[in-house]
């Protein structure tokens, strides 16, 4: 490279840069356990320094995908490349990867400090270096006083933190975390999330993390992959997954969504009008690749719907009428369950902006729900 080109600023979104070389490449990777396709022809690129989250229901193949990357399972099909090297002939102990196990897999006969030092010892680091790194890691996961304990003398959350520290200790290029924070209380979880993000920024580690906590995935991830029965349904940054889900499955799996079925009435270059039997005329301000009369679905997030006791001026589009049959009070929000004329129920979330003494809208009230053209998303599947 010539000196004329000052190092170009790394694009913030390497996955949108066709010239970027991904750090991990999965090509049509499959793993079958007998008749079960735990991972089914997955193709995926993950870039250096990403914080990549895998989300999906239990048993959809998240752990299996991590185990394929770590080298504990051999794929029944496809190719896995890490840093440009085909991993099929590289055994687990030679991969530049560390994994934190869902079951922690702490060595029961070693103390916490010995567990954390184990990986460093394999690299034959000097004793003093190992000791400082172990102390650093113990501090990071707030277990400084428990270095001499055995795993069985720890609580579940403490064990989880030891497993995390052990995986982090070697500062691998790629860190695989299988539900790393599931057993921690909210405060500790938020702190550890923060620490993880700091570590990632400082050391430039690429993270692939499995989580069931959507909030966690939203706040930490560069991108989220939503999985379903061995397939990846959508890969996108958190905001995109939330605002533009590509299917009913993703829309309902990530967050909450009201879904109305309908037929395309008019498809313009910048908008689409849909007629729904249960919700009347729906208008969305984005074009859709679907012919007139095709069946589509419109997803509307509960917090994007406004609720009022009076009919709006224009009730012809994006407006449904119903009765409140349940109200859930969540502190910061109230969730209104509204029954439409056809029996269909719609959820509406409203921020509680005033102290709740008397509700303006209460049980059995007749209400009108409206939302702007920019609230709904048209889904083809």
């Amino acid at each position: 490279m010539s000196a004329m080109h000052a190092s170009p600023r790394k694009p913030a979104e390497p996955w949108n840069d066709p010239a970027a070389v991904p750090y991990i490449r999965l090509r049509e990777v499959s793993k079958a356990f007998g008749p079960v396709n735990a991972v089914d022809r997955i193709s995926l690129d993950i870039h250096r320094g990403e914080f990549f989250s895998l989300l999906g229901p239990s048993g959809c193949g998240k752990t299996t995908l991590l185990r394929l990357l770590a080298g504990f399972e051999t794929p029944t099909g496809g190719v896995i490349e890490i840093d440009g090297t085909d991993m099929s002939a590289v055994p687990a102990h030679r991969r530049p990867v560390n994994m934190m196990f869902q079951s922690y897999a702490l060595f029961p006969h070693m103390s916490v400090a010995q567990n954390i030092a184990f990986g460093l010892k394999q690299d034959r680091l000097p004793k003093a270096d190992i000791a400082t790194r172990v102390d650093e890691m113990l501090g990071l996961v707030q277990l400084a006083k428990l270095g001499d304990r055995k795993p069985h003398q720890l609580s579940g959350g403490q064990r989880q933190r030891v497993a995390l520290a052990r995986a982090l200790a070697k500062r691998p290029k790629l860190l695989l975390l299988d539900e790393p924070l599931a057993a921690l209380d909210k405060r500790l979880r938020e702190q550890t999330q923060f620490e993880l993000m700091a570590v990632q920024e400082r050391l430039g580690i690429t993270f692939v993390i499995v989580t069931h906590d959507q909030e966690e995935a939203m706040t930490m991830s560069s991108r989220i992959a939503v999985m379903d029965a061995g397939h990846i349904r959508q890969v996108a940054p958190p905001a995109e997954v939330y605002e533009f889900p590509n299917s009913r499955y993703v829309a309902t799996f990530i967050g909450d969504a009201n879904i109305f079925e309908g037929r395309v009435e008019r498809a313009a270059s910048d908008s689409v009008t849909i007629h729904s039997a249960e919700a009347g005329r729906l208008f969305v301000d984005r074009s859709v690749a679907s012919p007139v009369d095709a069946t589509v679905w419109v997803a509307v997030r509960p917090e994007k719907i406004a609720i009022a006791a009076e009919p709006p001026a224009d009730a012809s589009v994006n407006c449904v009428e119903g009765t409140v049959f349940d109200i859930g009070y969540l502190g910061d929000m109230s969730i209104f369950h509204v029954a439409l004329a056809g029996g269909r129920r719609v959820r509406v979330a409203q921020a509680n902006r005033y102290r709740l003494v008397d509700r303006a809208i209460t049980w059995s009230d007749r209400v009108w729900l409206t939302w702007p053209p920019g609230a709904g998303v048209v889904l083809l599947t």
Partner: protein
């Protein structure tokens, strides 16, 4: 205190239906003899929990301690050409007690005559090397069994136990046919042209080692397998993940976690191997002196019951000591878990 009566039976002091065992107990208590026995047990502080523990202790007293005391008593007697062939320890004449005649000549002889010393040391040495060999063979076998697919494990286990269905004596005897100069092994090796002179194995220490390892291998494999079968194999994955080569992971993870099984297997092989008589007698030569064989010669050929009893007592002490040490070690390991 007054108030509404508690609804729940145990709060009201009313117990639920007695169990079958309790009903049996109450019925037995109606029998005066049984009631007296229970009262007595109560007097000496024996609770029902204590009674449960008392059963194995009773067994030990009856079948280990008593025979040992008899042998111990015999070891202080003198050999005699009579029936039984020893002098009594307690001297009774015409129904009058005349004192105890303790004879420590037997023990003195054991310490003076180096035949006994040599056979003790020989036995321990042979048992020790055989135990190591059995461990070296048994550990990979147990490991392989524990990692085999679930459906294979029971058949493999059966194959380990199967030899027990044939008499021990016959199996050891069969080794003579294999190991002798014109036996199966030498025949096969000569046929293959690997040797042109038969190897002399039978009637040497090598044959004794082969016999012991062969006979006691299942006792090594079974506790090892029981231990390894419970092993969490993701620990080995975790070790590999942290950059540990499989061989190293075996030594740093598998072996330490299998230690209780290794200790149990080694004791089960070492202890009976020290006192082994049949194997050195059938497979060993005249120069392979083991304590079991010495004992047999003293007892049946020389008919010196007191001397052989002394040999047995010392053998027992020599074995109990390491067991107690091992047991302590194991308790420490368990506590460290």
């Amino acid at each position: 205190m007054s108030g509404p009566e508690p609804r729940i039976a145990y709060l009201a002091g009313r117990h639920a239906e007695p169990t079958a065992l309790e009903r049996l107990f109450y019925r037995l208590m109606a029998v005066p003899a049984f009631a007296a026995l229970v009262a007595l047990a109560d007097r000496i502080g024996l609770t029902r929990r204590g009674a449960v523990i008392a059963i194995p202790y009773g067994w030990l007293v009856l079948f280990c301690l008593l025979p040992f005391l008899i042998v111990l008593k015999l070891s202080f007697a003198e050999a005699e050409l009579a029936q039984p062939p020893y002098t009594p320890l307690f001297d009774w004449v015409d129904g009058h007690f005349r004192g105890i005649r303790v004879n420590i000549e037997n023990y003195r002889l054991l310490f003076e005559d180096d035949l006994y010393w040599r056979s003790y040391l020989n036995s321990i040495r042979i048992a020790f090397t055989s135990t190591l060999l059995a461990l070296a063979i048994g550990l990979p076998m147990a490991y392989g069994m524990a990692r085999a697919p679930l459906a294979w494990r029971t058949p493999l286990l059966m194959m380990v136990i199967l030899p027990f269905w044939t008499s021990f004596l016959i199996r050891v005897y069969a080794w003579i046919g294999i190991l002798k100069n014109e036996g199966l092994l030498n025949g096969a090796l000569m046929q293959l042209g690997l040797i042109d002179q038969p190897l002399v194995i039978l009637n040497t220490e090598i044959a004794v080692h082969i016999g012991i390892v062969y006979s006691y291998l299942p006792f090594m494999i079974l506790p090892l397998y029981a231990n390894l079968e419970k092993m969490d194999w993701t620990l080995l994955e975790a070790a590999a993940d942290l950059g540990c080569r499989p061989a190293r992971a075996f030594w740093t993870i598998t072996v330490p976690l299998a230690l209780p099984g290794i200790v149990a297997g080694c004791s089960l092989v070492f202890i009976p191997a020290v006192g082994e008589f049949v194997i050195p007698d059938l497979l060993g030569g005249s120069d392979t002196v083991m304590i079991g064989k010495t004992l047999w010669v003293e007892f049946f050929q020389n008919r010196d019951w007191p001397l052989s009893s002394a040999v047995a007592v010392l053998l027992l002490l020599a074995l109990v000591l390491p067991i107690v040490l091992l047991q302590r070690q194991r308790a420490r390991l368990e506590a460290a878990r």
